[in-house]
């Protein structure tokens, strides 16, 4: 007689197996067991500033960590066992850090993390943290290019706030924008996830002078971010029609011109949802997170992050038979596997190094 484990047991077993795989995978990568191609990539990016990201500390809470882009010199910069921290954003000059601090028992929500908890501004190395609002204040706050203002998004409207005084400078109708809003490097536009283009979870951009908005990609997209020259957006997209994952498919990393043209697959892997794409300040590399479970990054413990050259795109990871059939002319790497985390942010500034030991 065979014993069939209950679905719950099977699920738990799969989870444990996945976690083990992730730990083994990331440990191997970080232990220096790199292919020559990946080692070359690691060497290229090692000196290119710092990455900040939320990850679970050894005490189980979410803290903010910084590391070199090759994964070295990782250290905890918040160390708050009684609180969770998430959504870190370096100011464009890399001198300051904006993030949210939540109660330790509050679960970080993959669609609401920009409005959970209180907003905090600190030095880029995490020192001198200063709470700049109450619970839920300054939702989805994003730095202006000069670091003098914050653009915020609420159900009522988009608000531009003076970063020093908190004074509201001006407002705009939000035109369907509802999460993950980011100010463009040239200061003229906002990107965000919008519901006003006929499909839920469109990626859009809005002119901050006129309020006019256009869709950049409009089927099941999220976590948009700007290329440094402002001409393109990188974003997560789950193309419809996928047969894998019980017909729900996997989320992939894509880019497109800001007018919606020239959509291009950047990275995809059947078996991982790719989120949190961020282009390096020189526009040559991209960071992302990849979790086997939908919402597994904030909801659980994140997953190893990845880094690749944009010139190597598109890359398809793993076996990914269905995806490779759709995109036959792709590479398989190199992709540098980084420590576990989610929603990373990259600066070329050396400010986060202030308290680090080489």
């Amino acid at each position: 007689m065979s014993i069939t484990p209950s679905p719950r047991y099977r699920f738990a077993s799969l989870r444990i197996l996945r976690c083990l795989c992730l730990v083994i995978f990331s440990s191997a990568a970080l232990a220096g067991d790199l292919s020559p191609e990946v080692a070359k990539l690691a060497g290229e990016v090692r000196g290119k500033g710092w990455i900040v990201f939320p990850a679970r500390s050894e005490k189980g809470d979410w803290d903010l960590f910084v590391m070199r882009p090759d994964g070295s010199q990782r250290r905890n910069i918040t160390n708050t066992p009684d609180a969770n921290e998430s959504y870190p954003l370096f100011s464009r000059d890399g001198s300051r850090l904006l993030y949210r601090r939540l109660a330790r028992n509050e679960i970080i929500d993959g669609n609401r993390y920009g409005e959970q908890g209180v907003p905090v501004v600190a030095n880029a190395d995490g020192t001198e943290p200063r709470v700049i609002g109450g619970e839920g204040d300054l939702p989805w706050a994003s730095w202006s290019p000069d670091g003098q203002a914050l653009a915020c998004l609420s159900v009522k409207e988009i608000t531009f706030v003076d970063a020093a005084s908190g004074k509201v400078l001006r407002t705009l109708p939000r035109h369907g924008f509802f999460q993950q809003m980011t100010w463009s490097p040239d200061g003229k536009w906002l990107s965000g996830v919008a519901n006003s283009f006929g499909t839920a979870w469109s990626i859009a951009r809005m002119n901050i002078t006129t309020g006019e908005a256009n869709a950049v990609s409009n089927v099941d997209c999220c976590t948009p971010d700007w290329f440094p020259d402002g001409t393109k957006l990188i974003f997560s997209n789950r193309p419809p029609g996928q047969k894998t994952n019980n017909g729900q498919g996997w989320t992939q990393l894509w880019s497109a011109d800001v007018d919606g043209h020239n959509r291009q697959l950047i990275y995809g892997e059947d078996g991982r949802h790719i989120y949190g794409g961020q282009v390096s300040p020189d526009g040559r590399y991209v960071l992302f997170t990849g979790n086997p479970q939908e919402d597994g990054d904030p909801g659980e413990s994140g997953a190893p992050m990845g880094l690749m050259r944009l010139s190597d795109a598109p890359i398809i990871g793993g076996e990914s038979k269905e995806l490779r059939a759709l995109h036959p002319d792709t590479k398989s790497g190199p992709v540098l596997t980084l420590p576990t985390g989610w929603e990373p942010c990259w600066t070329f500034s050396e400010s986060p190094a202030s308290h680090s030991k080489p």
Binding site: D109, N111, V155, K156, V193, T199
Partner: protein
């Protein structure tokens, strides 16, 4: 004899238990609560017939919270300035859930007795207008570009068949 007395005693105890249970405070919504919510929440209160459920408008996907826009014909107006016979478009949050279980951290004020959306059924609804002033999230709108005017936001939805 003993067994008959025992049965009587058991019956008495059951009756006392049932009666005393009725006096215990209940944390479920009473009819009065339901009426109070539907009569006080929102700015518009109507009874309306759900005209149809378009293909793909209602689905369940893990961790995928959204609002679906559904088309109604107004049967009776209890509050607000709508007219009987008007076609209105109403956003319902996470429509695969019974209304009593739809509220969450994103949409805290949401409820009603309706358990399932079925084409042709009558709903008694407390509505807000416009939806954009009350909801920040994904919208599945199969009527996109096919109607003008406000899209209402369903705060409370009771079955009215």
């Amino acid at each position: 004899m003993k067994s008959v007395a025992g049965i009587h005693l058991l019956g008495f105890c059951l009756a006392v238990f049932v009666l005393s249970s009725c006096n215990k405070p209940s944390y479920r919504f009473t009819n009065t609560d339901k009426d109070a919510k539907i009569k006080t929440l929102g700015t518009v209160e109507v009874t309306a017939r759900l005209v149809e459920i378009p293909d793909g408008a209602i689905f369940q996907r893990d961790l995928y919270d959204y609002a679906a826009i559904l088309k109604y014909e107004v049967v009776a107006v209890h509050r607000g300035t709508l007219e009987k016979g008007t076609t209105i478009y109403v956003g319902h949050y996470d429509p695969w859930k019974p209304r009593s279980k739809a509220a969450d951290q994103r949409v805290k004020l949401m409820g009603g007795t309706l358990r399932e959306f079925r084409s042709g059924s009558l709903h008694h609804m407390a509505l807000e207008t416009s939806m954009d002033d009350h909801y920040l999230g994904g919208i599945v709108d199969k009527y996109f570009g096919k109607h003008t005017g406000p899209t209402y936001w369903a705060v409370w939805t009771n079955a009215a068949d």
